[in-house]
Amino acid sequence: MNPYDAIFQNTLDGNEQGVLAACQELLDQGYRPIDILEQGLIPAMDHLGELLGRGERFVPQVLFSAKAMQSAVSYLQPVLMAQNELPPEPNVVVVGTVQGDIHTIGKNLVSIMLQSTGSRVIDLGANVSAERYIKAIRESGARVVCLSALLTSSMNRMRQIVREIQKEDFGWPVKIILGGGPITPSFARELNVTFGGSMVDTTQKANAFSVGLTDGAASVDR
C-alpha cells in the first residue's frame, strides 16, 4: 500500500481532521514532510482538478479539499523549516475586482483555487485602481495579475486599467488575465491579454504561465 494513500484520500474527501491525522502518522513514522506534500497533498489536488474538469466533482468539494490542504501545509510548515526543506517559492498572483465594481464572488473563487494549487495570492479586494494593481505587482514581484468585473459598466474601467498596467515597465514579464460575467474572449483579444473563462480556466492559465516562465516559453501580455 502506498503510504501516502490516506493523505491523498482524505484530501480528496475534504476531511481536514483526517488529513492532519494522516500527516501526523507519517511524520511519526519518519516520512519527510516534503514527500508528504509532493506525493500526497499536491497529487490529490491535481486529481481533484481533473475530476472537476470531467464534471465528477462540485466546487464546494474542491474548496473543502483546498481548506484541508491549506491546514496540512500550515501543519507541515514548521517541520519543513526545521528540516530546511521548504518547497519552492510559490508563484505570486495579484487578483482584484476593477475600480467601479464591488462584485467579488468570481475573484474570491479564483483566489481560493490559486492558493489551493500553491500560489501566493495578493488579493486586493474590490474597486481596485490601476495604481493599486501596479503597486502590488511591483512590490510582490507578481508575474500574473487577474482582473475581474461583473458590471457591464466596469468594462470601460477595466480597459483603462489594462492599458495602464501595459504601459508600466516592471523589469519582468507580467501576464494579465481578465474574467467576469460580461468579459468575452474577443474583449481580451482586443486588449492583447488572456481570457479567463472560469475559476478553473483562470487558475490553469495562471499556473501554466508560471510553469512556462521556467521553460522560457510563456506568452507575455506586458
Partner: protein
C-alpha cells in the same frame, strides 16, 4: 375574457408568516450597510438607528410598519407616448412585461454578436414599440466603444426618451450620472413636477448581498425619493455564491434586501410608487457559471413574488423569460417557456427579461419577437377561466341539442358566444402539411425574421416631440461636460 384567475402559491400561510417575521427581524436586529452620508442622516432624522461611522442602519418594527403602510396600493407608470400607461394593479388581472436590461452584447438578426451599437439601440426601440405584449423597456447597454464610457447610461437614455413609446426603466451606471438621468427625464416631460406627476421613467437600484448598498445605488434611492421617481428596487443574488445555496434562502435574502430598500424609500418619500424586484440567479456548482434559468431558482422567484404580493400587498417583479442557452435552440425555448408559464401562474405583477440569451448577457430582436408571442400565451394562462353553467354549456347539454342529427357545435349559440376566446399566437403553425409547404415550409424563426423585416420596413410609431427632444439633448450636453473625462 375570462377572469377566474388561478394562482399557485409556494408557501403555506404559516410559512409566509414565518418568512415575513424573519425578514423584519433581519432589518431590526442586523440592519443594512448604506454607503451614503446624506441618506444616512435623513434616515436618522426619520427615527432609524444609524451609526454614521460604520454606515450601518437598523430599523424598528414601528418604522417598518409605517413605511409599508405608506406604499401606494395603486399607482401608474406612465409612457412617453401616453398610449401605454401602466396602472398597478393591472385592471385586467394581467402581468406587465419588460425587456432585458444591462446586456452588453447584441446579436443581430443575421446572427452576428458584438457589443451594443447606438444604431442597434434605435432598432431595438423600433421593435419594442411594435410588440403588443411588451409593456415597458430598459436601456440596452451601449458599448463604451461607441459612446463615452463614463456616460453610457445617459447617452442610451437619450435614445430611449426620443424613440420609446413605452415606459423606461433606467439602470444607472455611475453615482454621478443619476442626477443627469433624472434631469433628462424631466426635460422630456416638461419639468421635475411634471415628472413627479407623470413618471415616464422608473429607476433600478441594486443591493449587494448581503444587505449592503453601495454609494451609487444609495444615490439612486436618495435622488429618486427626492424627485418622486418610482423605483423598482432590485436584488440580484447568486445562490451558493453570495447568498445561501438553497432557493428558499436566496429568495429570503433577496426579498429582505428589496424590502429594506422599500422601507427606506417610503420613510424618505411616503407614497412613492415601488415595485419589489428580486431577480434571482444561482451558481452552477461545477462550472461556477451564473445561471438564470435553473428550476429551483424559478421556484425561488415564485416564493419572492409571493412574499411581496401576498405577504404585503406590494407589487412584485422578477424574471419571466430568459435562458442560459447561448443560442436560439431547444434548450432556450424549453427554459424560457417553462419559466414564463410558471411565473404567469404565480403572483408577480411584472415579468421581465424579454429578448435575452446567454443568462441576460445578450439581446436579440428575433428572440424579443418570439418572447412577445410567449408572453401572449402566458397572459392567457394568467387570466384563467370561470367555471359555471355558461362555460359548461349546461343549457344546451341538458336540452339534448346535440341529439338533432343536423346539429353541429359549429352552429350552436354557445359556440357563437365563445368562439373568439381561444388565444391564437400570431406566428404559430395551425394548419396541415399541405398548406405549410405551399406557404414556404417556414419555421418559427423564419416567421419571426419576416415579422422583424416588416416592422423595420414600417415607419416607427413614436418620436418625442421636437421641443422636448431638444431639451433632452441640451441636458445630454450638460451631462457630457460634467461626466466625460476626455
Amino acid at each position: 375574457m375570462a377572469v377566474g384567475r388561478k394562482q399557485i402559491w409556494m408557501m403555506t400561510e404559516e410559512e409566509l408568516a414565518h418568512v415575513k417575521a424573519r425578514m423584519e427581524q433581519l432589518l431590526i436586529e442586523r440592519g443594512v450597510h448604506l454607503d451614503h452620508d446624506p441618506m444616512l442622516k435623513d434616515l436618522a432624522a426619520c427615527g432609524c438607528i444609524v451609526d454614521m461611522e460604520t454606515k450601518d442602519v437598523k430599523f424598528t418594527k414601528e418604522l417598518i410598519d409605517k413605511a409599508i403602510a405608506a406604499v401606494p396600493a395603486e399607482f401608474t407608470l406612465y409612457s412617453p407616448s401616453g398610449t401605454r400607461d401602466l396602472k398597478f394593479p393591472n385592471p385586467e388581472g394581467k402581468f406587465y412585461t419588460r425587456t432585458n436590461t444591462g446586456a452588453p452584447n447584441y446579436r443581430t438578426v443575421d446572427g452576428d454578436t458584438h457589443y451594443v451599437k447606438p444604431e442597434e439601440v434605435d432598432e431595438w426601440y423600433h421593435v419594442t414599440n411594435a410588440m403588443e405584449n411588451l409593456d415597458f423597456v430598459t436601456l440596452p447597454s451601449t458599448s463604451g466603444e461607441y459612446v463615452p464610457g463614463d456616460a453610457v447610461d445617459v447617452y442610451t437614455l437619450e435614445k430611449a426618451l426620443k424613440y420609446s413609446a413605452k415606459h423606461i426603466w433606467i439602470q444607472p451606471y455611475e453615482a454621478d450620472n443619476v442626477q443627469h438621468l433624472i434631469d433628462m427625464s424631466a426635460a422630456a416631460v416638461g419639468g421635475y413636477e411634471e415628472l413627479r406627476k407623470r413618471p415616464i421613467v422608473s429607476m433600478i437600484a441594486c443591493s449587494v448581498p448581503v444587505l449592503t448598498y453601495k454609494h451609487m445605488d444609495a444615490e439612486i434611492l436618495y435622488l429618486s425619493a427626492k424627485y418622486g421617481v418610482p423605483v423598482q428596487p432590485c436584488s440580484l443574488p447568486t445562490a451558493g455564491a453570495n447568498t445561501p445555496v438553497t432557493a428558499q434562502g436566496t429568495a429570503f435574502v433577496a426579498s429582505a434586501e428589496v424590502f429594506a430598500q422599500i422601507v427606506m424609500l417610503e420613510l424618505l418619500c411616503p407614497g412613492l410608487p415601488v415595485i419589489a424586484t428580486p431577480l434571482l440567479f444561482s451558481m452552477d456548482m461545477q462550472s461556477t457559471y451564473t445561471l438564470q434559468s435553473n428550476t429551483e431558482i424559478t421556484m425561488a422567484r415564485l416564493m419572492a413574488m409571493e412574499i411581496f404580493e401576498r405577504g404585503y400587498n406590494i407589487r412584485a417583479h422578477s424574471y419571466g423569460t430568459g435562458t442560459d442557452s447561448l443560442i436560439l435552440d431547444a434548450q432556450n425555448f424549453i427554459e424560457r417557456t417553462s419559466l414564463t408559464q410558471a411565473m404567469a401562474l404565480g403572483a408577480g405583477s411584472v415579468l421581465g427579461g424579454a429578448g435575452q440569451l446567454e443568462t441576460a448577457k445578450t439581446i436579440n430582436p428575433i428572440q424579443l419577437i418570439i418572447d412577445n408571442e410567449i408572453f401572449g400565451i402566458a397572459q392567457r394562462l394568467r387570466l384563467g377561466f370561470d367555471v359555471n353553467d355558461e362555460t359548461l354549456d349546461w343549457d344546451e347539454l341538458i336540452a339534448g341539442i346535440d341529439k338533432d342529427p343536423f346539429f353541429s357545435y359549429l352552429m350552436s349559440e354557445h359556440t357563437f358566444r365563445h368562439y373568439e376566446e381561444p388565444h391564437r399566437p400570431d406566428m404559430f403553425n395551425r394548419d396541415g402539411v399541405a398548406r405549410w409547404e405551399m406557404e414556404g415550409s417556414k419555421d418559427l424563426l423564419t416567421k419571426a425574421r419576416e415579422k422583424f423585416d416588416a416592422i423595420m420596413a414600417t415607419p416607427d410609431t413614436y418620436q418625442l416631440p421636437a421641443d422636448k427632444a431638444a431639451a433632452v439633448e441640451e441636458k445630454l450636453r450638460i451631462a457630457h461636460k460634467a461626466l466625460v473625462k476626455e
